[in-house]
Structure formats: structure tokens, C-alpha cells
Amino acid sequence: MRTRSNLFGPIDEVLVFILLALMLIGFGAIFTSQYEPQNWHLFDMSKNYGKQLLWIGISLSMFIFVQLIDARLIVSLSYLIYGLMIGLLLIVFVKGQSVGGNQNWINFGFFKLQPSEFVKYGTALALSRFLSRPLVRFSRLKDRMIVGAIIGLPLLLILKQGDVGSALVYVGFVFVLNRVGLPNGLIYLGLYIITISVLSLLINEYFLMGGLVLISLIIIYFNRKSRQLVYFVGIVALVSCLYIKGVDLIFNNVLKDYHRERINVMLGKVSDNAGAAYNLNQSKIAIGSGGVFGKGYLNGTQTRYDFVPELSTDFIFCTIGEELGFLGSIIVISLFVSLILRIIYLAERQRSVFNQLFMYCVASIIFMHFIINIGMTIGLAPVIGIPLPFISYGGSSLISFTLMIATVIKLDSDRLLHFR
């Protein structure tokens, strides 16, 4: 029973528009990063832009394919897909190829599959499927442990492969859990810990402790009537102080030199133009030199002349920043923010819990990629290799993200037909 007589049903045009816009910007950015004025051909398969065109074609075919199948099929196949993805991840350990120190590729000749990109999709399906089962209560410890296992299994495998960036994305699932009852307090606590950690590395540990104690005393003084709060603040301050000392010990004794260096670079404590700081420096120079309107499409110098490494993949945003300027930045960031907000909006209008949670999963994954990738290019996040969805060069990433959006659109399109 379709409300419209067309083949697809009512698909969300906003999402489709954003998806196509991002893909187009991505292709344009990859093209300019490898463009040679005298010698270029749009379908040159030896160039990243030529291949990306192929990936876009495959992705759009996948998109159409997903629109044609029954949404219930996706739901019912959730665990199977999850299982398959975990399987692929395991194959990497046996037949995987190492790229840049990370062992996370399976070589199929022309196509190098990166299972860690797809496993996010599988995890989102499985997590949503489990949490949407009628008898599952997230407040129950047993269910929480199963949730932990669904997220933890791929996370550990990816970490084992050395892909810190992809692993970090799984932190995003706390937003999904938050939606099913994980208290806000826990997320705030997480943010508090991150803040304290960063501060303890930036400021002398004893100054920081002193500051914390001072703030605590002020809070306690004004709330001295409430015994409960006094205890709470006191304990938080005490634990924080111990933690600060701990962070220092871990930073200086447990972490390896290159970790320390990368963290220092991100915190702005080291700024030599070599080694770890080089990438970030060149990336900021490229973006910063774009100015308000940019140098014009195909006119970038920092990006065109190889000053920025990993240009068409991790640092693709540099091309946009340099050639399209702050206006380009606004457009890309607005598109991503709109994409995430639109998915959340769609999620909230779902009647199916599965639909809703899956959409939250997708929104969270895109959110994590978005903030880490762009944050990294301008020095707000550590330099961790992670693609910018729909824009960075790479088949696995593009197909995986398109699958997620296609599934979101399909689920939304069918929401009135199949709800429980």
C-alpha cells in the first residue's frame, strides 16, 4: 500500500539534496587536489578523482537499490549484516594489508576494501535491533552488558588494528544510549574528564589542583546549607586532584613519545614546522590563506603543490578552505549540521523504535566524523586519520555512508507502512 504511485515512495528530499551536495563538493575537492592544467581527463582512473566518480556511481546505485527493497528486510537482516562485518574485520587479521601503520585493508585487486568503514553500519543496525526488542530495558544491567558487547566487539577489533580514528567514532554511540536513558550527567562527566585532562596537560598540575580546590570551596561556601552538595563537590574535587596527578603520570610514563608529541602539537605546546606539527601547520596555512572568498576554484597553491599531506583523504577540507575561503567553510559546515539535525528530526518523527535508534546511530557516527576531521585540520582535535563523510576520497567510506543515509531515507519513507 503505497501513498504515491511512484516506485520509491515518499523519500525525504532534504536529505537527498544534502547527500548530493556533499558528494558534489567532495568530487570537486578531490578533482582540484590532483588537477594538472595541461593534462587531465575526468574519467582518468589513475587519478583519485576518476576513481571517486566510479565510487559515486556505485554509491548511487546502492542508494537506489536500498530504496527498492523492503525496509523490513533490512531490519530482519541486522544481526546477519553485523555478523558479516565482524567477519570481514577478522579476515583483515589474516589477509589484511598495512597502510600507514594501520592494518585495516583487504585487497581485492582494483578495490581495497576497508571493513572498519562498513562495520559502523552493521553495528548501528545490530544496536538498534537489540534495543528495539520489546523486552529489552536499557536500565537492566544484563541488557547494558549486551549493548556493551555489541559496541565493544568491533571497537576492540579496530583498536587492535591500530585504527584509533575509527575507534574514536564508537564513542559517538553514547548519544544513542543517551537517547534510550543513559543520563546526561554521564556525558557531562565525560566532558568534565576530557576538560580536566586537557587542562592538566596545559597548566602546571599543582596550579590546576589549587584552582579546583578554590572553586570547590567557593561553591561549598555558598551552598553550605545543603549537606549533600557539600559532600558531592568535596568528593569531585578530591577525585579530580587524584585524577590530575594520574594523567600526568600516564602522560609522562605510559604514553609513547609520538603520542606525546601529537598531543603536545594539538595543545599548541610545540609548534616547530617539522614532524608531527608539520601536517597541522601546513593544513592551517592552507585553510587560513583562503581568506573570506578563497583563492578561487583550482587556484589553491598550498594544496596543489603538495604542501598538505594526505590531501584527498584526511585533509580534504584544506582544499575547500583554501580555494573557497570562509564562505566555503560556512557552506560545508552548514551542510553537515543540517544533515545531522535533519536526521535527528526524522528520527524523532519515527514511530518505530528501531527506525529512531538507527537514525540516531547514523547521526552520531556522522557527527563524530565531522567534528574530528574538520577539528583536526584546524587544530581543535588531534591529527587522527579519519575521513570526512561524502567528501574525502575513498570507496569504502563513501559507499558505507551512502548506505547509512539510504537506509535512513528508506526507513523514513516506509515509516507509515511498517511500524510496530
Binding site: G181, T301, Y305, I330, I344, A363, L380
Partner: protein, 611 residues
């Protein structure tokens, strides 16, 4: 169903907040902070200095005496080095394996792996052409085209000078023109005319990639500055005469300075021993310089302007002129010399000669007593009031003749020579405690008086001109874009009547006909001169000769000093006479070839000196 207590999770808020944070940071680096734009430009736009070609130097007849030769520096960019076939490379560049390793070690030491560093300097075009064919096989190797100064005649080193890398002091003094590694004239015309010769540097802005590979010109060259070639110089030297003079002075210490009297243009400027200026240009400059600077014969010493000698008897023509002008003697006055000039406690000896019939005989016989008489009479002359005043008048004539001061020739390091002042004698003997007899040796160019070869040549040019000179100079004209610009030099007129010069000139002609220079008399070739012997307390006397030719409308005035060669007539006079004949007649007549050969072969440098 699950709990629905949290409508809209925290994600929505965080997306908006973090989106705004990212935009704020982007706004800061893209719009507010200008440093990234500057750094981006510095990243890709490299300023390359384009060196203008240095001005050439021609001789007075338009022959090239200094030009630029292309040479190549082989550069290495350490970061780009890859699979070098060292055996082949060494073969092409004619290096030994050890040499290669040492040079490569220096490149690595330079610690600038992304920038080209000099590997091998100043390769000749021929050697470079061989290497260039194979350049593509040596990744990381590149080249830089430069030019070095070449001196095709291999002479006139002391005039031309040389160029060398600028030092810190010169860089600082240049108002930002010189950068470390630039070359500038260090001495000679190269230094004196540095600002004309060097031209104006150009700037080329180039776009490079991260490996410093050239990607094209920046902004289509709109901001480039095209270098302006240096001004060419036309030297006053006659390079053939110069080389001839150097050949005659070979194996002798001393100087030859020849001047065109009517203009003050220096025709020849020989400082012996000299050196081939090519030695101080190019790859082995440092090595050669240290050899030359340690040579006991001091080949780097610029004798014509730096060495000063007692002018001896070459002083006498001027002394006659002063006497005639001051009325001390008339040109027609004779003089009887009794084998010397006797004053209480001292006798200035004279050689045996017949009594002087007139002034010209004094020069012909170089009579010491005649000149002592002049100085004695002048300093005791009542018309001056006192010895001091009389001496001042005498010293003023010397000043007019260019003694005791710089003549402002356009090579540097000019010595003033010495004309003792009244104050000097007052200090030594006390005021009013000295008189003619005290300073009598000045009369015959001995004593405290010292003159450079250039000053002696200038003196004889004045006599040739019958009373004036132009400041001697080595550059005739500056040539730019095919237009020559002649510099006007100051004319100095000596306050002596032109008519008084005839007697002196006749005397100087007699020197050749029947006087001390008769050994180099040449029938049909009019020449006038005066021998001299400079007393040398350290060894054998210096042989001096000043001369000009022809007698009327003189073309050349010359001073020759041959150190430790004894009387002026033995070496200095023949060399001067040959130089004049060569210049005026363009060749040496066959009957004088034997003199030429004798002079060319004469070796006056003892083995002891040459150590």
C-alpha cells in the same frame, strides 16, 4: 517500548554548539589572522635574485680586457637524492671517489635537505655540457649558471683588480644591496667602479611546490624586476703597450707608468712582479691568493701608487723651472762646478763634466752643484723674508707638480709620497735653526723627499705639456647602451711661464743625444728624458728614468723605476725608450732589437730575494 523521558538527546545541542565552535575557529584563521596568508605566500613564492651581467672593460682601442665567462655550479638537494651512480658521476665531473664523498659529506652537513646546496663550484661549459646530458640520471642534482671574470691578456692585474665574495662589513655598508655569497670588486678598477660595473639586480618570483620544484612564474611575472646589466668601461690603457711593459719588466722589481700628457690618460701601468689576474678569478682563487700573498717579492703590492722612492735626479728639470720662474737663475746662465758643492761641514759630490754653458747643460750633465746652488740661493733669498717663507714657496711649487699629495687616480691605495713641511724641520732642528745647508740634499731629490712612480710620471707629463696636467686616470669613458660618457677630469695649471720650459726640454733632449741617456739615442726618434738614481740604504740603488716623446706635441710621458738596478741609464732608460718607441711608432726598429732582447732577458731578481 523504551523510556521516553529524554525527548531529543544531547546530540542536537552539541551538533549546533560544535558547529559554531568550528566556524568561530575558521573565522579566526581565515578572516581575522593575516599571518596564514603571508606564510602561504612564503611557502610557494620564492624570490630568486637575477644577477645582471657585470660590465666589461675595454682598452683605449676597444680591445676587450675583461669579460664574463659562463660557469656552472653543481647543486645537490639532499632530500631528493636517489640511486646515484657515483662511479659515472665521478667520471663525468672528473672527481675521485674520496673527493665525491667529502663533498657529499659537506652537503649533508649543511642541514638544509630541501634546499639545493653547492656541491661543486665553477665547472667550465665544456665539462658541464658532458654532465648536463646525463643530469636526468642523477636525481637530486641540479645546476646554477653563473659567470666569472676572465682576463684574456693575462696582464694589468693591478689596474683591473679582482672581485671576491663580499664580507660582513661590506654587506652592512651596502644598504641592503649585497647578500652573503655575492661578489664585489675588492681592489683596482673592479672596486673603484663597483657601483657602475655591477649593474642592478633583478628579482624573479617563482612558484615552487613542497620539494622546491619550479612550477612557474608568480603572477605571470608581473612583479618581477628585470636585471640591468652593468656599465662597460673603456680603460685608458693601451693593452699592447701594457703587456709589452710587463714583458720588459719581467724578472725585475719596479714600476712603469706611462701617461698621455694631453689628457692625463694612463697608457700603461706596470707593477712588477705582477701576476695573471685569472689566478684570482674562479675556482682556485683562495688557494692562489694565499700563494701570492706569501710571495716574498710581493706580487700583490701595487707599486706605481704605493711604493715611494727618493726621485733623485729626475727631480732636476722641475728644479730648473722653479729657479727660472723665481729669477734665481736665468736659463742662459752658465755654471762652473768644481766636482761638487761645498758647504760648511758637508760636500755634495758631482761627477766630472765640462763647465755648464747654460741651463740645458745642467740637465744634460745632471750637475748636482748647479741644483744645490739653486736651493741654497732660493732659501737664503732676501725677497722671501725668511728661510721658512722661502721654503714654503719652494714646497708650493712641488705641490703644484703633484708631489706630496694624492693625484686622485681611480685605483685605490694611493700613497701621498712625502714633501717635508716647514713644521717638520722646525720640529727636528727648532724654529729658525735650519737653513739651506741643512736641507741641501732636497735639491737633488734626496733626503726626506719621496715620490711614487705615478707622481714621477705626472711630473714629466707636466714638462711635456709645458705647464699643466690633467689628473691621471685609468678610465676613459663609461659605455652604456652604446653611448659613451666621458668623465671630465680637472686640469691643473702650474704657475710657471710656458716659455721657460724650452730650455729644460732642450736639456732633456740632450740627455738622449749626448747625456746620460745617449745609450738609447735613436736617430729620427725625438725623445726627451732624465735619468735618476734613488739612493737605497738597504741595497743597490734604484734605477730611475722619466721621459716623454716626441719633443713637440708629445704623445707619451713615462716614468720607469727598476729597483736595485743601479744607475738610471742602465735599465730604466732603455725600458722607457723602448716603451715610447713602441707606442709612438707601433714597433721597435730593427737596430734596437738587441736592446729589447737584452731588457727582456735581464734578470735582476737574485735567488736570495726570490725566496
Amino acid at each position: 517500548m523504551i523510556e521516553k523521558e529524554q525527548q531529543y538527546g544531547i546530540l542536537r545541542t552539541m551538533t549546533i554548539v560544535i558547529g559554531l565552535i568550528l566556524l568561530a575557529k575558521l573565522f579566526m584563521i581565515q578572516v581575522i589572522n593575516p599571518s596564514y596568508k603571508l606564510r602561504a605566500r612564503n611557502n610557494v613564492v620564492k624570490m630568486r635574485t637575477e644577477f645582471p651581467s657585470r660590465g666589461l672593460i675595454f682598452d683605449r682601442n676597444g680591445k676587450v680586457i675583461v669579460y664574463n665567462d659562463p660557469v656552472y655550479d653543481i647543486m645537490v638537494t639532499a632530500k631528493q637524492l636517489k640511486d646515484i651512480d657515483t662511479v659515472k658521476l665521478c667520471q663525468l665531473l672528473e672527481l675521485t671517489q674520496a673527493d665525491f664523498e667529502e663533498r657529499m659529506g659537506k652537503v649533508i652537513e649543511a642541514k638544509s635537505p630541501r634546499k639545493p646546496v653547492i656541491f661543486l663550484r665553477n665547472i667550465t661549459p665544456v665539462k658541464f655540457a658532458k654532465f648536463h646530458e646525463h643530469l636526468y640520471e642523477f636525481k637530486g642534482f641540479s645546476f646554477d649558471k653563473k659567470s666569472i671574470r676572465r682576463y684574456p691578456n693575462g696582464g694589468a692585474a693591478h689596474v683591473l683588480g679582482y672581485i671576491s665574495e663580499v664580507n660582513d662589513r661590506e654587506i652592512e655598508a651596502s644598504d641592503g644591496y649585497y647578500k652573503p655569497g655575492d661578489y664585489a670588486g675588492t681592489i683596482g678598477l673592479e672596486k673603484a667602479y663597483e657601483e657602475k660595473l655591477r649593474g642592478i639586480k633583478g628579482i624573479r618570483y617563482e612558484v615552487v611546490d613542497v620539494f622546491n620544484n619550479l612550477q612557474g612564474s608568480f603572477n605571470n611575472g608581473a612583479e618581477d624586476i628585470i636585471p640591468e646589466a652593468g656599465t662597460d668601461l673603456m680603460s685608458s690603457l693601451d693593452i699592447d703597450l701594457q703587456i709589452y711593459g710587463e714583458a720588459l719588466m719581467k724578472n725585475k722589481l719596479g714600476s712603469v707608468v706611462a701617461i698621455e700628457p694631453s689628457t692625463g690618460e694612463v697608457l700603461a701601468y706596470v707593477s712588477s712582479p705582477g701576476y695573471d689576474p685569472n689566478l684570482l678569478s674562479g675556482r682556485y682563487r683562495g688557494h692562489n691568493y694565499s700563494i701570492l700573498s706569501q710571495d716574498t717579492l710581493k706580487p700583490l703590492y701595487n707599486r706605481p701608487v704605493s711604493a715611494a722612492y727618493p726621485p733623485g735626479s729626475t727631480f732636476k728639470p722641475m728644479m730648473s723651472l722653479i729657479a727660472y720662474q723665481e729669477g734665481i737663475k736665468k736659463p742662459t746662465d752658465g755654471y762652473v762646478c768644481n766636482g761638487g758643492y761645498r758647504i760648511p761641514g758637508h760636500t755634495v759630490g758631482c761627477h766630472a763634466h765640462v763647465p755648464l754653458q747654460s741651463g740645458r747643460d745642467a740637465i744634460r750633465f745632471s750637475c748636482n752643484a748647479y741644483y744645490c746652488d739653486i736651493l741654497s740661493k732660493m732659501l737664503s733669498g732676501k725677497q722671501y723674508g725668511s728661510v721658512e717663507e722661502a721654503y714654503k714657496v719652494w714646497a708650493d711649487y712641488l705641490d703644484q707638480f703633484g708631489f706630496g699629495k694624492r693625484l686622485n687616480i681611480d685605483v685605490l691605495s694611493e700613497n701621498t709620497g712625502n714633501v717635508p713641511s716647514v713644521e717638520y724641520y722646525n720640529k727636528i732642528y727648532g724654529k729658525n735653526r735650519w737653513k739651506a745647508s741643512t736641507v741641501i740634499s732636497l735639491a737633488i731629490g734626496q733626503g726626506e723627499i719621496l715620490a711614487t712612480p705615478l707622481q714621477m710620471a705626472n711630473e714629466v707629463a707636466i714638462i711635456a705639456n709645458r705647464g699643466y696636467y690633467y689628473e691621471p686616470h685609468l678610465v676613459k669613458a663609461e659605455v652604456k647602451n652604446d653611448t659613451a660618457r666621458t668623465t671630465r677630469f680637472e686640469k691643473h695649471i702650474i704657475k710657471i711661464d710656458a716659455s721657460l720650459f724650452e730650455e729644460v726640454v732642450l736639456g732633456m733632449e740632450d740627455v738622449f743625444i749626448s747625456g746620460t741617456g745617449r745609450g738609447v739615442f735613436k736617430e729620427g726618434f725625438s725623445q726627451c728624458g732624465k735619468t735618476g738614481t734613488a739612493e737605497n740604504p738597504h741595497g743597490k740603488d734604484h734605477s730611475l728614468f722619466v721621459a716623454f716623446a716626441p719633443k713637440d706635441d708629445p704623445k707619451i710621458a713615462i716614468a720607469v723605476i727598476v729597483e736595485n738596478a743601479g744607475f738610471g741609464s742602465t735599465y730604466a732608460a732603455p725600458i722607457a725608450s723602448l716603451m715610447m718607441e713602441k707606442y709612438v711608432n707601433d714597433s721597435i726598429s730593427s737596430d734596437r732589437i738587441w736592446i729589447e732582447e737584452k731588457m727582456l732577458k735581464a734578470n735582476l731578481i737574485s735567488h736570495e730575494d726570490a725566496k
